[in-house]
Symmetry: C2
Subunit: 345 residues, 2 copies
């Protein structure tokens, strides 16, 4: 863990850290290993255990919370407990349950970190989680961005003041976390949902990965390696995208007035590599709309099609009603005509 | 097919074309469809049918060749037949059988195109082949380069004088080629090796893809889409790699004298994104050694490690004995001391 910690460049002293603990083997092992490193004075962290009750499993959820609280107390750490009715939220946002649970959990972790305050939030994702995420995104037809999988370190608040890090991701296997807990005599909790094959992730774990292992016994390592290579690609392409956007932005006065992103010069977009151009368009559209909800590859390609041909005057409508036009050598973003604000996103 | 043809920007008139026909459904369908387009005067191609007998299946191989010859003759096209003992070649080059068969086949196609001469060679790879290739490379732990799968168009001779194109790749399904042949009353040949599960590709087709289809009924389309996105990324990164290599090359006189690639400036390599830097190093090493045989990611990372730290003087040995050192702010390539030339590659 200490090696993985250093590889990610995480701070070793004087740092407030929130560690997310569900009570399962992975997160219990992370907590126990951090505790070991703190007691051995290898790390000097001010640690808070955070547990989020998604309210999905009734009495079991409550027992998990009690169990985590008892473990944290026994080890001598503060505990932050959060709860939400994720099923209701999912219904309200028309999101799937896993997505809603994730959003609620990370928002709780971010609030907890801000309140303490703590600079670092840790989750116990393992290499197995990484492999499953890569495959989940693959069966959905993701590109580089999805296939890069889980980030080892990213900003949790979008401002970089709170970092989210996964110190187990690049090396620890799920089975190892179970063995480690057992060695320390800690009877981790077992989440019944991990056996519910109505979740795609569970079927990936129980069916797809074992079959892929017949092709390559080190399939989990291979998928994690692929994800790492693709994250490197993604970061190189993100750099190129920024350079392109910077260069292609026209003087921004008009755009400032209308509160839309500045127009983009079509000549510079046209000569950029497709992969960089499309990323730049996605980024620009996100700026204009506020988000990328319901924006698919087909919309990016439609906007890109404005660049070809010599005549201007064509207009592309995006989901939600905003428009992109091409005039005077620039792509321009137009918010959709004002309507009741609650329908605006 | 005509739509796919135009999307690839292939020439529609006055072009010598070699179409590779094994006698299976895919390649028979491609030949029949080209014939239809030629007869309807949609394409004006001078078409030669090429069939390669890999000598792997004894009497059946010979029957396949006779069958393809009969079909070509009936349609009124020239036929070029080639053969090789691929099993022997594979043993000699210590290559696997599929790899050796592929090399022998493409070398035959290139020779045929050069002899005629023809500018364009076509193979009948379908979207199913693309999905299988992506998964084969995935289980091996490939990065972007492997996951991009089969190229729709590439140079066959490395000089761009003969193009290799796959006009079915982005849209045709294998089952459709079978239906098309049957509709035209053509009883395509069935390759018994397509049922031999000792080949990873066959197990991918028969086991892995059907399981993945339970996650996404359009899995083949999804994988083909992913491959397309990754090929776009690859090509953007290749462009950035060229720019970096161009900038980082030092004056080449010394290198010219020793017949090795010019040194690369460490300061410029160090500030490039990792994905671009590693591609540049791979390319430079390939130039120095003549090929990338036995070069793995670990070797690229070892050479990259020369860039960190302030002291020079360290040396990395590559498989085959060539060396990379860091001196006076440059990485330098050194061929290994002369030994009998037949061992040099």
């Amino acid at each position: 863990l200490l090696e993985g910690w250093r590889r990610l460049g995480l701070p070793e002293t004087n740092t407030g850290v929130v560690v997310a603990v569900s009570g399962g083997a992975d997160s219990s092992a992370l907590l126990l290993a951090l505790d070991e490193l703190i007691r051995k004075k290898k790390l000097a962290l001010s640690l808070t255990v955070a547990h989020f009750d998604h309210g999905l499993r009734g009495a079991t959820s409550k027992e998990d919370a009690r169990w985590v609280k008892a473990l944290a107390t026994r080890l001598g750490y503060r505990i932050a407990l959060g709860r939400a009715n994720v099923r209701m939220r999912a219904a309200k946002l028309r999101d799937n349950l896993e997505q809603a649970a994730r959003l609620a959990r990370y928002s709780f972790l971010a609030r907890t970190a801000n309140r303490l305050p703590a600079r670092l939030v840790l989750t116990a994702h393992t290499m197995d989680d990484q492999a499953e995420t890569v495959l989940l995104n693959l069966v959905r037809g993701s590109g580089t961005d999805g296939l890069g999988g889980i980030d080892p370190v990213r900003s949790l608040d979008g401002k970089g003041k709170v970092l989210l890090a996964r110190p187990l991701l690049s090396w620890a296997r799920r089975a190892e976390t179970e063995t480690y807990c057992r060695t320390l005599g800690v009877e981790f909790r077992i989440d019944a949902m991990n056996a519910d094959e109505s979740f795609a992730r569970v079927r990936i774990r129980r069916k797809l990965l074992p079959l892929m292992q017949t092709f390559n016994v080190k399939i989990v390592e291979a998928l994690a390696r692929t994800a790492g290579l693709l994250r490197d690609d993604r970061s190189a392409l993100a750099g190129a995208t920024e350079v392109l956007l910077e260069a292609a932005r026209e003087a921004a006065e008009a755009a400032d007035r209308e509160n839309v992103p500045p127009g983009l010069r079509t000549d510079l977009l046209a000569i950029a590599p497709a992969a960089v151009r499309r990323r730049a368009l996605r980024h620009w559209i996100a700026q204009g709309r506020g988000d990328l909800r319901r924006i698919e590859l087909v919309h990016i390609l439609a906007v890109e099609s404005l660049l070809s041909g010599t005549r201007g005057g064509r207009v592309i409508e995006l989901p939600g009603g905003s428009l992109v036009s091409r005039t005077r050598g620039c792509l321009r973003f137009h918010r959709r005509p004002a309507r009741p604000p609650e329908r605006d996103r």
